[in-house]
């Protein structure tokens, strides 16, 4: 009946002891450990009911939007999920388990989900009904709202008519989601989507109380009074782009007994040195570090490194730069990159070298194993090997009839990418004689625009997973995708991806899995991108706190099972 797709990803927990912290660190450093930590989480949850306390959380950036259908960034998602539940939520391992859904059924053909809702209440006393979901989902695809994540319903969720509505060809009421009655929600899909349930914890799919929303006019989500809560916490103080705001425990939450914390205090701190000092002063319970600070804290049992999900890679402009269209030159570059040195000597935050196009530790297959656990799987196409690099480089020079090359790489103005870029520059220039790499630092918005417009030679960029399936990465390199920055095109590749998303392989998880490896192999063989590293964040988590759940996609931090000993 239903897919038994328990996603048992590694989750990096707020580990109380030295051993657990060390384990988390090594795991993020690239080992394939999948054990441990689960027990810590459950013991944390069990101990939880005893103590209360307010958790003081550091954020790096301000919240951009509290509107679940318009928000796009990790910070906003985290905060929205603190006070809003969707149909499903993540368990400590990141698997989708029921939240507002009491139960669900999937039709024989895999194309219709029927959700039965729990008795839950909004913070204004209204019941959470199936109509709230319908309204929320319709908002997400309404072209008038221009929601950036509307493709979660169309391309990825394959909800009936979503694509047509987004394109403006059909009215929003045609969306394939209906409220059968107050407590029953029916969702129709174009094709079976194996990971559909894991989308349900994504904030774009959260419900919205229509009456309340309309009573707020344009001001929804601009203060604590203009949002409704149905989740574990209630927002009590907030203003747009606030640097500090608070939430308290929601006494009316349907699962209130499970929540141990009395509340959450968020504090935005953009300077990591200030953040660590505040942490040491006891003003914060969890804070992010920059790589330089790891030296200061590496002996501290409270230090831990958690997977952030992002794959950082260099995208060559294959289409517009004739020299980069040369496969041997691209291979020379990818073999000249010493990724170990980048993660160990420069980043030092626990990030792991990446040799695959799909990063490790976020997607697990039908057999429960990590899609990219084996980072040497494609070693013949992607590894660090100066000799091979030199060999390919000579071939490229012969083929192109040139002795020297000069490229410009565009880089984000942030701290970490700039550091990485400087090392990449040095590595390429020393390993490949006659190769010059110039760096152009740009604000992120412009870097993205340059990539999408094709006005670049090389670009250092990143991609975070939207859902727990390798397709969130592999889908990028099909012909014509706006994130296929190099405008690379390969008919075989496109065919495999089409098979996996809308073709026959939709209903064959194992076959689909294998096909995706084939696709990944093509990407690496053709050196379409040069993977660099999977990002990890170095964090300090107070030893009084247990059970903070970290996830690489959608909701980065979840506090429902968190406890704090005062």
């Amino acid at each position: 009946m239903k897919f038994d797709r328990r996603i048992s990803r590694r989750s990096f927990l707020a580990a109380a002891g030295v051993s657990a912290a060390a384990l988390a660190l090594t795991a993020c450093g690239g080992s394939s450990s999948t054990a441990a930590s689960g027990s810590t989480a459950s013991s944390g949850a069990a101990a939880g009911s005893a103590e209360g306390g307010v958790l003081n959380i550091m954020l790096e950036t301000e919240v951009q939007s509290l509107d679940p259908q318009l928000a796009t960034d990790g910070t906003s998602f985290e905060v929205i999920a603190d006070y809003t539940d969707g149909l499903m939520q993540m368990d400590e391992n990141g698997a989708a388990v029921e939240a507002l859904a009491e139960s669900y059924e999937l039709s024989e053909d895999g194309k219709t989900y029927t959700f039965h809702l729990k008795d839950a209440k909004w913070s204004n006393g209204d019941a959470v009904t199936a109509a709230d979901f319908v309204f929320g989902w319709q908002r997400a695809v309404d072209p008038a709202n221009a929601s950036e994540y509307s493709y979660m319903l169309s391309d990825i969720g394959q909800v009936v008519n979503a694509a047509e509505i987004i394109a403006g060809d059909k009215p929003v009421t045609d969306l394939g989601v209906t409220a059968v009655d107050d407590k029953t929600l029916k969702v129709e899909l174009n094709v079976p989507v194996s990971y559909f349930l894991s989308l349900m914890y994504f904030p774009t799919f959260y419900p919205m109380n229509q009456k309340f929303f309309e009573s707020c006019g344009d001001t929804y989500g601009t203060s604590a009074d203009t949002v409704l809560s149905n989740g574990a916490f209630v927002l009590t103080s907030y203003e747009p782009a606030a640097t500090a705001f608070e939430l308290v425990k929601n006494a009316d939450y349907y699962d209130a007994d499970r929540i141990a914390l009395d509340g959450l205090n968020y504090q935005v701190i953009k300077d990591s040195q200030q953040a660590l000092m505040s942490y040491q002063n006891g003003d914060l319970d969890i804070t992010l570090l920059n790589g330089e600070q790891v030296e200061q804290v590496k002996d501290d049992p409270e230090f831990t490194s958690v997977g952030a999900g992002y794959l950082w890679y260099i995208s060559p402009n294959i289409d517009a730069v004739p020299d980069l269209a040369n496969l041997n030159l691209r291979r020379a570059i990818t073999f000249a990159l010493n990724r170990d040195s980048i993660t160990n000597d420069v980043l030092k935050d626990g990030s792991s070298p990446a040799y695959t196009a799909v990063p490790a530790q976020f997607a697990t297959g039908p057999d429960g194993s990590d899609f990219s656990a084996d980072q040497t799987k494609f070693a013949e196409f992607c590894a660090y090997d100066p000799d091979k690099a030199a060999e390919y480089y000579e071939q490229a020079k012969a083929e192109l009839g040139k002795d020297s090359f000069s490229f410009t790489m565009i880089v984000d103005a942030d701290d970490a990418p700039q550091k990485v870029a400087q090392v990449v520059q040095e590595q390429l220039q020393t390993t490949l004689p006659g190769f010059t790499l110039e760096l152009k630092v740009e604000p992120k918005k412009q870097r993205v625009q340059d990539l999408q417009d094709g006005t670049f030679e090389l670009g250092l960029t990143r991609w975070g997973p939207d859902y727990a399936d390798p397709m969130t990465y592999l889908g990028m390199w099909v012909t014509g995708n706006s994130n296929n920055y190099g405008l690379w095109s390969d008919a075989d590749y496109d065919a495999i991806i089409a098979e996996c998303t809308t073709g026959d392989l939709c209903t064959d998880p194992e076959g689909r899995w294998e096909a995706m490896y084939d696709a990944e192999s093509i990407v690496l063989e053709q050196a379409v991108i040069f993977p660099l590293y999977g990002q990890c964040n170095a964090e300090m988590i107070s030893s009084a706190v247990t059970g903070i759940e970290h996830h690489p996609c959608a909701l980065n931090r979840v506090y429902k099972n968190t406890t704090k000993n005062a």
Binding site: S65, E148, T222, A241, A244, Q274, V448, Q449, T461
Partner: protein, 311 residues
């Protein structure tokens, strides 16, 4: 005088309008767009442009902005705080910047004046050298280094003041940011006061005053400082605007929800409306203060009024 004032006010308004137009043109020149996430497709970007009217010709946008602004509507933020009315952002953030900046100006001006007067009176002595060194440090050490050093010493080690801005203890948590902000003002004022004071002290009317038997504090404050003050105000005025409109650096380090850091984020995220509105407020304050200083001059010093009357 009345005619001159009116004329100045009207030209100021036109200047402001011109600034607004320049800002609009600058935004057009800005590379990138506010809607630029890896996850956005070109079609969605186009629909977002249409939604906010950014696909219209610039003069239409300009006209719409000006008419809306006259009604107090500055538009909404595109991405740094999605769809939030900018007037709301300004209302909650500008007072904080003004408060911290105001403390910094007061502190900087008072300490700077005292240092400058001492240096001028004790010219070429050890006090003069000391005051010079202090003011040189003030202008040569970047404020973020000062801010972090202060925060480390007085916030982290000694725990005298909070390290981060807090709405619950606005005054206490504004102390360290104000000090770090005031350093530059203090140093500039000190240096300027010193040279102005020296000039005044060497002037003939001071000799006259002295020979008439006026001495001590009365001589310095009533006669010397008063005359030195006019040029000092000219220097101070633009500094006031700079401080009141928030400092990116200090706001970032102390997590102050002010407008300075907002402007930088907005520029980097291509949030046109926020950039234009905040820049406009800056410009309005700048032009406003310049106008006030100009008019004050006329009142204080009739010679200037006469000189200006003919243009």
């Amino acid at each position: 005088m009345k005619k001159y004032t009116l004329k100045r006010i009207i030209t100021s308004l036109f200047t402001l309008l011109a600034i607004l137009l320049v800002l609009f043109i600058l935004m057009q020149l800005m590379p990138g767009s506010p809607f630029n996430d890896e996850k956005l497709t070109p079609e969605m970007r186009a629909s977002l442009y249409a939604k906010y009217g950014l696909d219209q010709p610039i003069y239409v946008q300009f006209f719409r902005y000006v008419t809306n602004m006259l009604r107090g509507d500055f538009g909404v933020s595109y991405n740094i705080s999605k769809n939030t009315p900018i007037s709301q952002l300004i209302q909650s953030r500008l007072p904080i910047s003004i408060r911290v900046g105001g403390m910094a100006v007061t502190l900087g001006a008072v300490v700077g004046l005292v240092l400058g007067i001492i240096a001028a009176l004790k010219r070429d002595t050890i006090f003069d050298t000391l005051a010079t060194i202090i003011s040189v440090i003030g202008v040569s050490v970047p404020s973020y280094v000062i801010a972090l050093a202060l925060s480390y010493t007085f916030g982290f080690k000694l725990k005298w003041f909070p390290m981060l801005f807090s709405a619950k203890d606005v005054f206490g948590s504004s102390v360290l940011p104000s000090i770090s902000l005031s350093m530059f003002t203090m140093a500039s004022i000190a240096r300027f006061t010193r040279s102005e004071m020296i000039e005044v002290l060497d002037s003939d009317y001071m000799l006259l005053a002295e020979s008439k038997g006026i001495s001590g504090p009365a001589l310095i404050f009533r006669h010397a400082l008063r005359n030195a003050l006019i040029p000092i105000i000219t220097v101070l005025a633009p500094l006031i605007v700079d401080l009141m409109t928030g400092s990116l650096v200090v706001e970032k380090i102390f997590a102050i929800p002010g407008v300075g850091s907002l402007l930088v984020t907005a520029i980097q995220s291509n949030d046109y409306n926020v950039v234009i509105s905040l820049s406009f407020i800056y410009s309005a304050m700048y032009i406003g203060i310049m106008l006030v200083v100009d008019l004050l001059y006329g009142i204080i010093d009739p010679r200037i009024r006469l000189a200006k009357g003919d243009d």
